[in-house]
């Protein structure tokens, strides 16, 4: 299995390189899909293996023994996230192809998108701090290009905010990596835990904080989130859907690694406070907005807060809940952005002032919105409910009553803003602006609709298969907490 671990990174990159040579649009589309589906197949194979054996799959790049060279490590958490990421990116690609504007607009859309996918996979798989930084750069650079794909005024303005803040994030990250190397002499995940534990308290805390800030910017936690709601809403909807669903989660994933592997259990109160304030501030932002994309963008922040809260609680139960939350949230958020994309495509606007009466016009679209929206608000029996309840239980058993209280209020406010979108966009008289094409909304955009439907279906599958999935999350969380196992897996793998 270990030979397959690297493929979800390599296949998209090869595809990207190929597409610079082959510039035919149809060929590009075919290559993209082939690359994503084959990556998905290999990633699934790794996942199944990790699931069945409970082992950690390690790929050693260059075939070097020990842990001095670069390794790719696929434990429970990584392997499942790679699979989810590939499912989401593949469906969003379907959406983008259906939407046609992005890839017809720019010949670079497909190669850059593939690089983004590779960067995301690499970030999840990296077993080395510096390699993680490089993975971040790959995905960030790709995201800069995608965010400014059309290069219009709005995108340039918001893209600038995004680029500058993320460059600062890169600077902080590479600085943190350099200083960690200075203090420990290594950047390998397998060597770092022991050496970090031996550092003096102050240095350890300083380095820890730097990493938290770097990944906190990426994950968009309070008070480092401001770039997100200013930049995502202007991106092409196919790009913002992936960003919304995946990129911030890469940040959360890294925070999980930091809190479990590198600095286990340290500064957890700080993390918890950050998590609680993030969810509160995020949702307050969301209910203030009048634009669907902005409401949804603020919700990303709020939901990140839940995950960070769970991470701050710590312990096997809460971290399992966090992992489950992470998995559930990726397709939910992405599908909401896709629905929004369809709406915008049809009405030319994402403002609640301009759009209304969609439920009458397209009942199916209404269903496609309602399911993920209610999941986000935590309504049973959808996946969001399970995730939220798992976190609430974790918080209660850790006696974090204030955090739980905030989580509950935030949940209600989430419902408020989802209802706001529903009432504003889906109910009411059919707005004149949405009358410009009289046929069915979805019939005209079959592949956009089916991409959205696939993701909504995926969220339903997560809910139905919650039993085994949660079991897997629990095992992944046990794996995360068992640092020795990680170290020996990397050191001894052949």
């Amino acid at each position: 299995m270990s030979s397959l671990v690297a493929l979800p990174i390599l296949i998209p990159l090869v595809a990207a390189a190929l597409m610079l040579v082959v510039r035919n649009l149809f060929a590009q589309r075919a290559i993209s899909f082939a690359a994503l589906l084959s990556s998905l197949a290999t990633a699934t194979a790794v996942l199944v293996d990790v699931w069945n054996t409970g082992d950690i799959a390690v790929s050693r790049l260059g075939g070097w023994p020990g842990s001095f060279a670069i390794t790719l490590v696929s434990d429970g958490l990584s392997s499942v996230l790679v699979v989810v990421a590939l499912v989401v990116t593949a469906t969003v690609l379907l959406f983008a192809v259906g939407q046609q504007t992005p890839d017809e607009h720019s010949p670079y859309y497909h190669p850059v998108y593939m690089a983004l996918v590779a960067g995301i996979s690499q970030a999840f798989l990296a077993g080395d701090l510096f390699n993680l930084f490089v993975a971040f750069e790959v995905l960030l650079m790709a995201s800069y290009v995608l965010l400014t794909l059309e290069g219009n005024r709005e995108q340039i303005r918001s893209g600038t905010t995004y680029v500058v803040l993320n460059i600062i994030e890169s600077v902080v990250l590479v600085m943190a990596v350099g200083l960690i190397f200075a203090a420990t002499g290594t950047v390998s995940f397998a060597e770092l835990p022991e050496r970090i534990a031996a550092l003096p308290d102050g240095v350890r805390m300083g380095l820890h904080l730097l990493l938290l800030i770097a990944f906190g910017i990426k994950a968009a936690v309070f008070p480092l989130f401001s770039w997100l709601p200013d930049s995502y809403p202007t991106a092409p909807s196919s790009a913002s859907a992936v960003f919304a669903g995946l990129l911030t989660k890469v940040g959360v994933y890294c925070l999980i690694r930091v809190q479990t592997l590198l600095f286990p259990g340290e500064l957890s109160n700080l993390v918890m406070v950050v998590g609680v304030s993030t969810m509160a501030i995020g949702v307050l932002g969301a209910i203030s907005q009048h634009d669907m994309k902005r409401i949804l963008s603020f919700h990303i922040i709020s939901q990140i807060g839940y995950m960070v809260f769970g991470l701050g609680i710590g312990g096997a139960v809460a971290i399992a809940a966090t992992i489950f939350y992470l998995i559930h949230h990726i397709p939910v958020k992405t599908s909401l952005f896709l629905v929004e994309g369809i709406i915008e495509r049809n009405t030319g606007s994402s403002s609640l002032d301009d759009v209304s009466g969609l439920a009458r016009k397209s009942p199916l679209l209404a269903v496609l919105f309602l399911i993920p929206a209610m999941s986000l608000a935590g309504f049973p029996p959808l996946s969001g409910f399970l995730a939220k309840f798992a976190l609430v239980r974790g918080g209660l058993s850790a006696e974090q009553y204030i955090g739980v209280g905030v989580a509950i209020v935030v949940s209600l406010l989430t419902l408020v803003s989802m209802v706001k979108i529903w009432v504003g966009a889906f109910w009411g008289e059919v707005a004149p602006s949405s009358l410009n094409n009289s046929g069915g909304v979805l019939r005209q955009h079959r592949s956009m609709a089916s991409a959205t439907a696939i993701l909504v279906g995926f969220t339903l599958v997560i809910a139905v298969a919650a039993g085994p999935l949660y079991e897997f999350a629990t095992r992944a969380s046990d794996q995360l907490l068992d640092i020795e196992r990680y170290i020996s897996a990397v050191r001894s793998a052949s």
């Binding site: 510096f130 490089v134 750069e137 650079m141 800069y144 290009v145 400014t148 290069g151 219009n152 005024r153 340039i156 303005r157 918001s158 893209g159 600038t160 905010t161 680029v163 500058v164 460059i167 600062i168 890169s170 600077v171 590479v174 600085m175 990596v177 350099g178 200083l179 190397f181 200075a182 950047v187 709601p229 200013d230 809403p233 203030s288 907005q289 634009d291 902005r294």
Partner: protein
């Protein structure tokens, strides 16, 4: 770490940070360049002692090659970022005629709206309900 390296890092970070808080994108890009150099010096100065070039066969104490390799990667990535950022500044100029970062329109709107309380309006009595 020598006192000079220390001072250099301090100045590069201070100047870089100062420039990053500018509104002119070109100045921000200069800030990125300066702070990027600061990070590179930081990694080399704190990651290894000065020594001979790490080429096997050379005499004397060899410098640690790993920080050098890391910085090499960082330099190139920094160049990539700067190039893109400057193109962004240029594109901004072609649109607006300058290289300033504008404030977010929607955020300003929320700020304005926050000043006047937005009411749901008078809710009619449910008597005029139509079934």
């Amino acid at each position: 770490m020598s006192i000079w390296a220390f001072a250099l890092i301090a100045v590069l970070f201070a100047v870089g940070s100062y420039l990053l808080m500018e509104r002119s994108l070109t100045r921000v890009a200069l800030g990125v360049g300066v702070i990027g150099n600061g990070v590179n010096v930081l990694i080399i100065a704190s990651g290894s002692d000065a020594g001979e070039a790490p080429i096997i066969g050379r005499e004397g104490v060899l410098a640690d090659p790993l920080p050098q390799a890391l910085v090499l990667t960082a330099i190139v990535i920094g160049f990539a970022l700067l190039t893109f950022l400057m193109t962004l500044a240029w594109r901004n100029w072609t649109i607006t005629g300058n290289d300033e970062v504008e404030d977010d329109v929607e955020d300003r709107m929320i700020t304005r709206r926050a000043e006047q309380t937005e009411k749901l309006g008078d809710v009619p009595h449910p008597e005029d309900v139509q079934t």
